[in-house]
Symmetry: C2
């Protein structure tokens, strides 16, 4: 257990595994009852049933309501700050006190032991969106939210090493005593605190226990469903993970999931300090109290590179959606004599070596028809570029759309003025 499970992994592991191992048959109306995972199905149906029964039979005291919210955050942080960022991703180091606290709190969220959870989660990151990912988002929202737990896994999740966790004292302690810790943290404490505090054992059990647990469950599940479905991809769009404030809100900060899949060992999910990520705030506070150290943050420049790539992609698409002027290579070369001659029959104007047909624009010219008209058959470069009026970049861009030819020997190739402002910076593809 303490030797990395992937130490001898072959170089073609993924392709080889996918092609040589067969998945179980797909779930259908005929076989689902045979394929159920009875333990998790029971937990995930009985808990909300208890909560609903409680809702209709038990008065909610305000103290119990407040305590339920508090206990929701305690146990959810056990998962987000503990299971997820500390153990699955090693995003920081925690002092023993904090480790024990997180391990206990996480047990109250009833999502299995740290080791089991991290095993699956690391496979999720290693094989995102493939069949080796236990909660493959390509199989639909229902599957990634809860379906994958209700039935037997269709495939063994891909190999993921958790030998570092097998060597961790706190993780193994929690693994060993998991059942007791679960009962204590999920139901005993939330019943006893309101009971001793303000005599509300029953409300504590139903609201801070069952109801709170139902919310924590679906909060975590949303990280696998909603966070792979809703929102933007500011860092990379290779895979399904997405950033959305709403997801962050319902998952105690795990909703900036596009960032997280790019930079999984960063202790933050949202980089800006003010973006909603209570888990990051909690870790920062622990750091100030000396309970956490070695907070890992991906280098800022590398994070910027991801954003840059995505923004460039967007701009490339935008630039492909507009019509660009003809380049000098695609235009006929016209002699001065021919330019003069043609100007007698249509309104041609020479500007920085290009010959433009302004027929459609004569009456539209904001500077008036007369200023264009008197330049027909002439070089209007000086007038256009500030002699008479320093035209806007937009006017220069528009001008280029009226190109019909290049004056022989006339192109000011060396000059900025031969290139419309919208074409001075261009996006090129390296491959």
């Amino acid at each position: 257990d303490t030797i990395p499970s992937d130490i001898n992994i072959p170089d073609n592991y993924v392709a080889h595994t996918l092609s040589t191992t067969k998945p179980l048959p797909p779930i259908t109306w005929n076989n689902w009852w045979k394929e159920l995972n009875y333990i998790s199905t029971t937990i995930l149906t009985v808990t909300p049933a208890i909560a609903i029964y409680g809702l209709f039979t038990t008065k909610l005291h305000w103290q119990t309501a407040l305590f339920s919210v508090f206990w929701y955050f305690v146990t959810a942080l056990g998962i987000t700050a503990g299971y997820h960022r500390l153990w699955a991703h090693r995003a920081y180091n925690a002092s023993p006190a904090l480790e024990y606290a997180l391990a206990a709190a996480g047990a109250g969220a009833a999502q299995g032991s740290i080791r089991w959870w991290s095993r699956g989660h690391r496979a999720h990151h290693r094989y995102t969106d493939t069949d080796l990912d236990p909660y493959n988002a390509h199989k639909g929202l229902l599957w990634s939210h809860i379906g994958w737990m209700l039935v037997k896994p269709r495939r063994k999740p891909g190999v993921a090493d958790v030998s570092d966790l097998s060597r961790n004292k706190v993780v193994m302690w929690q693994h060993k005593w998991y059942l007791y810790l679960f009962i204590i943290m999920a139901f005993l404490v939330p019943s006893v605190v309101p009971g001793l505090g303000w005599g509300d054992y029953r409300g504590g059990f139903f609201y801070a226990g069952a109801m709170r647990l139902t919310f924590v469950h679906h909060s975590t599940f949303c990280v696998n469903s909603l966070a792979h479905y809703l929102g933007a991809t500011p860092f990379d769009d290779k895979h399904t993970p997405r950033d959305h404030f709403f997801t962050a809100l319902v998952t105690v900060g795990e909703g900036y999931h596009n960032f997280h899949h790019q930079f999984p060992m960063d202790y933050r999910n949202a980089i800006k300090w003010y973006q909603y990520d209570p888990t990051k705030w909690f870790i920062t506070v622990c750091y100030f109290f000396g309970l956490a150290s070695h907070l890992k943050a991906f280098p800022e420049g590398e994070i910027k590179k991801g954003q840059l790539t995505m923004e460039l992609k967007k701009l490339e698409r935008k630039s492909q959606s507009v019509v660009w002027p003809k380049s000098s290579n695609d235009l006929p070369v016209i002699t001065w004599e021919s330019f003069q001659e043609q100007s007698l029959t249509r309104p041609l104007i020479l500007i920085s070596g290009f010959i433009h047909d302004v027929s459609s624009f004569l009456d539209e010219h904001p500077g008036g028809r007369h200023l264009l008209a008197k330049m027909i058959g002439k070089d209007a470069s000086t007038a256009f570029f500030g002699g008479v009026y320093d035209h806007s970049n937009a006017a220069h861009n528009l001008l280029a759309m009226m190109r019909v030819g290049v004056l022989q020997h006339g192109l000011e190739l060396e000059s900025e003025r031969a290139i419309p402002p919208s074409q001075r910076l261009q996006i090129v593809r390296a491959v």
Copy 2:
């Protein structure tokens, strides 16, 4: 008057005028009283003085308050939809009824006749940010807001043609009767309507007359001051005009001024229908009632080009702020033998032809130290690119930063994998 004033303008007009005509001496503490423009100074100080006197001596009836706001919008639209967009910029055509209404309403804003106003405004657009611009923003907020009207112009504004307006019946009618129209619309109507309506002549005079006029004045002035000072430059940053919602709010929609200076003959100042621009909404409503026609809108593709250029500029700056990997030209070529030999003393890994030194990363590797360690002195391309784990784009970018050499004959130049994702799209300069 009906022949364009700039019909014989020379090609070097701007430079020539600036170098051959002398401005009046600058305003100082010693000469300002000699340089005052007494008429406009009187109007711009007496009006607010009357308003303040009224404020302290006159009860405000709610009907008068409502009517004042209404009259504010009527007279302000006379300026924005009439003076500015219709006459100064010819952004649409108006039916005679609408023209007369706008000419009358605009007179109630006490900003001079349409012809005088458009003359100055066209010079402002033609010579933006130069000394030929009557309200040159480079001379400071106070100057462009109000200073330019309080003293004699330091220079004759640059030539701007208004012969089209001299040919316009409504414009000339307003010019002729301006004084009467001003008195009627600025003070008479706003006194009489509340007077006959609910017996509040006095309140009408002070609130709907003087107070409202003060607000309309400074609202228009903000277009010359605030709109050249506050906000973003999404379309072009060659000159001072800027876009800001706040400016739009206080100027009945003229606050998207960066757009406006790029596309002055567009009937909109804000392109999105929902962006705050009541003047655009007003024109649209007139269009639906057949009162306005030929609404000019700059082609969408050309508008996009402006945005694209500005966004590319920003990204170029961003890309210059990060450290990029060394290119193969800047790296030593290393033979296979030398690679093997050097790998004995430091952790070198070969991936797609580049040799990387992973010393600083061994213990940071999220996939664990062991997976890197076993690849030292080997080609890890297959494993890195999905054989074992399909690394994120971020990981590939980071990898490139560890380059220390190129394997002799080994560079997969033709392959995408030799180029980190952040360098596949690049911004290049055409000049």
